[in-house]
């Protein structure tokens, strides 16, 4: 049995650009483009990138809310045969969705305001374990206690809770089916910084307690540094660097990763790296980039002609995968 | 812009096709064959017109399958401008209708202008002076305007004019001018009459637009940018006209698209009540006596002109507001 819980190979997701009913759409948004990686059992795998880099799309492909344009996603549960998610049908997916759960970014819109807590958290249990009545109430109470909420709130509606409490409800819902893998899409982005820390700690505690694997999507490097073991950096749909956390933070190899790290505010001015003087590399270019070029070239301080004319190969340097012509040289 | 134009004109084709199908269905709906009626009529008149009737039978393809009849009817219209015969008047439909259609669209367009000229200032006033007496009055009349059906309002206005002002009611000019040539006096007389149908048809549209404008503007008025501009000392009037009104105007403008069909509809009912020389009374009469080619032609032309009018207003709109092109 492999110790990879998830293996993603050559995954692409293209959206057609606004085609009307009778018009053939001519161009596509390459939200995720040829992405490959694997997630080890029990680790926390981070995905970072700025807004629009395709993180959410990647997460939704893994959950199979979206059907990818190309590529494979292989899931291997504990003591189970590997399952290919891309080709699974709805009924198979329904059983997979007990093993792989999701925590959403927006604690406001991810909880149906018209249902009480017991329904929101317990809905999956009604379906998967056919629980109801007091058995359901007991299970949901236990889950609520697990995430640090009081069981009395069973019959409250989401409107009555603060953002942090709602996110705990979302986590409780994710845990309800005893999952093995949890995809958390910016699970703490919408929260205050102090609540962020609480929630991250809670998630770490739960990871130990229930032997969870996390895919943790974020745009905030500080959050990633706090919780992740390995980190993939995404830029315009591609993974430009994939490394262990320490390696990534101490020795970033892709110019984009460096730009991102420079953008992180460092509270202690003495620790501020020299490079900080060179400002972040501007905005995401609005016009599309030629597909056969380095996507980052228009913003890259090191860009040469080769970067604009051919797509960079994936290089392995010190066990780090980098997508750059000059990886290791700059 | 050209692409947008081409697309809109392309979209129009299925609409027009559907319109023609529905109209054709309406023509076919009454039981019996219209030439039978005609033949019966002519037979009574004592003339022997079998040959003429046979010719008409071939021309309309009567007795042949529906699609053949439809094809002949359409090609007559498209190729020869031949809308068929009005059997009641025994004259080609085209001789009868253009005058009336002209009045219908003139009144509808004037009503559109009336609606805009009243709804815009009243809407702005209502929003700026929210909950003032004027706002309540506007809201009240707005609701009344929405709740009174056009024809009822027309009747009430006519009754009031007749009872309390002794004015001759109905028609677009006083009886003595009916057949007179156009003079300034007749024009003045027309102005004395034409405001009433315009007012009657326009009230419900104006009421709706006042409410839309008021709601839109209220949404804008409390935006941070307005507060900022005010804090910077811009004068209230300038402040209002420069941004919030402009932004609020956008959804307002896009109402043109649906307002023209409702105005034409309203005109048709009101003109029946007020006995105006427009499409309404002619259409109603044609329908009641089952003069189907006349009725069908009126329905077809009114619909087509409305669709084209809506298209023109959409194009103007896209020209004013580029965002529309990309919707």
């Amino acid at each position: 049995m492999s110790d990879n819980i998830l293996e993603v190979n050559g995954l692409s997701m293209h959206f057609p650009l606004s085609g009307g009913a009778f018009r053939k759409s001519t161009s596509v948004v390459r939200a995720v483009e040829d992405v490959s990686f694997s997630v080890k059992r029990g680790e926390t795998f981070g995905v970072v990138g700025e807004s629009g880099s395709g993180k959410t799309t990647l997460g939704r492909c893994i959950m199979r809310i979206l059907t990818p344009t190309a590529g494979t996603i292989q899931y291997t549960g504990k003591a189970q045969e590997p399952v290919e998610l891309v080709t699974s049908d709805d009924s198979l997916l329904r059983t997979i969705w007990r093993d792989i759960r999701m925590v959403f970014q927006d604690p406001q819109s991810s909880l149906n305001p018209r249902l009480p807590v017991i329904e929101i958290v317990g809905q999956c249990l009604r379906k998967s374990e056919k629980l109801s009545g007091s058995a359901l109430a007991d299970r949901v109470s236990t889950l609520l206690t697990n995430v640090g909420l009081r069981p009395e709130i069973l019959h409250r509606y989401p409107g009555a809770f603060s953002g942090g409490q709602r996110q705990r409800l979302g986590i409780a819902r994710a845990l309800a089916t005893n999952p093995q893998l949890v995809v958390a899409d910016e699970a703490v982005s919408a929260l205050d910084v102090s609540i962020q820390a609480q929630t991250l700690n809670l998630m770490q505690d739960l990871q130990e307690q229930f032997e969870l694997t996390y895919i943790f999507i974020a745009h905030d490097l500080a959050v990633v540094e706090h919780i992740c073991d390995r980190v993939a950096v995404m830029y315009l749909g591609q993974i430009v660097e994939l490394a262990d956390k320490d390696e990534l933070f101490n020795n970033p190899k892709h110019p984009y990763t460096r730009a991102l790290l420079n953008a992180v505010p460092v509270p202690d001015p003495r620790k501020r790296p020299e490079k900080r003087a060179r400002r972040g590399a501007g905005e995401i270019p609005s016009g599309g980039v030629r597909p056969d070029a380095c996507q980052f070239a228009p913003r890259c301080p090191h860009a040469q002609d080769i970067c604009r004319n051919s797509s960079p190969p994936e290089k392995q340097i010190d066990g780090v995968a980098v997508l750059c012509h000059f990886a290791g040289e700059i | 812009m050209l692409g947008f134009l081409a697309r809109r004109i392309l979209y129009m084709i299925p609409t027009l096709f559907l319109v023609s199908i529905v109209t054709f269905a309406i023509i076919q709906l009454p039981p019996g064959d219209y030439l039978d009626t005609l033949a019966a009529d002519m037979g009574e008149a004592g003339s022997d017109n079998n040959a003429a009737i046979e010719a008409l039978r071939v021309q309309y393809g009567l007795g042949e399958p529906m699609y053949v009849q439809y094809g002949k009817w359409m090609s007559g219209i498209l190729l020869h401008g031949n809308f068929g015969l009005s059997f009641e008047k025994n004259r080609p439909v085209t001789d009868l209708i253009w005058d009336r259609l002209g009045w219908t669209f003139l009144i509808s367009l004037l009503t559109l202008a009336f609606i805009w000229l009243t709804a815009l200032p009243i809407g702005i006033y209502s929003a700026v002076k929210k909950y003032s007496a004027g706002d309540y009055i506007a809201t009240f009349f707005g609701f009344i305007g929405l709740a009174i059906p056009n024809f009822l309002l027309a009747l009430v206005m006519m009754y009031v004019a007749f009872r309390y002002f002794g004015q001759s009611v109905g028609g677009l000019v006083s009886p003595e001018y009916l057949d007179a040539p156009w003079t300034w006096a007749k024009f003045g007389n027309l102005l004395e009459h034409i405001w009433m149908p315009i007012f009657v048809i326009g009230t419900s549209g104006a009421a709706a637009l006042i409410r839309i404008m008021r709601a839109n503007l209220l949404d804008e008025l409390y935006r941070p940018y307005v507060v900022t501009a005010r804090a910077k000392g811009m004068s209230e009037f300038q402040l209002l006209l420069r941004y919030p009104v402009r932004v609020a105007l956008n959804p307002f403008i896009s109402t043109i698209g649906w307002i023209l069909p409702t105005l034409v509809s309203g005109e048709i009912i009101v003109s029946v009540v007020m006995n105006l020389p427009t499409t309404g009374p002619m259409l109603l009469r044609a329908l009641l006596v089952q003069d189907m080619y006349l009725a069908g032609s009126l329905i077809l032309i009114v619909s087509v002109l409305t669709v084209v009018g809506t298209l023109i207003s959409d194009l103007l709109l896209a020209w004013i507001d580029p965002r529309i092109r990309y919707q």
Binding site: R114, G148, R173 | V19, L29, L152, A295
Partner: protein, 380 residues
Amino acid sequence: MTQASTLPLADDPAEHSPVVLGPWALVWRKFMRHRLAVISGVIIILIYLIAAFAEFVAPADISKTSVRHTFAPPQMMHLFAPGDDGSTVFLPHVKGLKTTIDKEARRRTFEIDDTKIIPLGFFVHGFEYKLFGLIDTDLHLFGAKNPRDTFYLFGADRLGRDIFSRIVVGTRISMSIGLVGVAMSLVIGVLLGGISGYFGGWLDGLIQRFIEFIRSVPTIPLWMGLAAAIPLDWPPLRTYFVVTLIVSMIGWTSLAREVRGKFLSLRNEDFIIAARLDGLSHGEVILKHMVPSFSSHIIASLTLAVPLMILAETSLSFLGIGLQPPIVSWGTLLKEAQNIRSIAQAPWLLIAPGTVIVIAVLAFNFLGDGLRDAADPNAH
């Protein structure tokens, strides 16, 4: 930091908000604060009660003609009358009419006769009818104490029939056309809008084009064409349904658009995705999560669609191409007031049914507005 998650949460709602309202209760409470809407709701309930018990409420038989009362004017109802000993006593009554015949104009003129009192009472016996078409009875809510007295609260028409009773009975047709028409547009609108919004793609495009078509064509001439094709000799019930069908063509397009918009925006809401991940089927997601979150909007739009249909029926019947007499509806009543001469002679022909229509339409508009405000979670 690691202990942070086990700290008690200071803002636990259990501590300071003992009463927790569900979302429906919130909508209800918001609605109840809308006074005009609540009053309108009561009025509408009353109108439908009148429609259901029309013959019981109507004091006179609607088809009873009386040549001696052609265009008799309305008689006001008075509550107190002078008693035998000169004091005032409570006695609901109307004053009688004095008729003079104008030989030259060949018509009757009426005058209120203050000396003649027609006493009215509750639960009196009058003409016979079948309640709900089942129970034989002659009991009426109110009427003249002496069954042979006639009185006209809203006046009489050309044939001397009681307009008040006719309006009461017409309520049934006019108001039910609103409901039946709305039910039809609900089915069409939700079905097509739902398909459009949930599945999207070319089906969505096709349905959208169709809706655009209907909206870009002036409806009145089209309806007139369709309605005029109804043969005059059809049985009333069939005419009624066809007219309702024609009338319901207005309502469904805006409803379908609204449903589609809701489906489109909800489809990508996180809680809908979460529900799918919880293992619910498409049908369950739609029924359990989507429909409840916009049903209040739908109810509001339906309420606003009813008056449109009432007005449409009235307009068509008024033109003489919708419902036909002997069917009594508000529209066919107004048909009596078609020319200025009859209105000038008997303004009540116009005023009485007109006022009733305006009241009903206004009530529906206010109710719908109130419901819409209450249903909107963003409104303050």
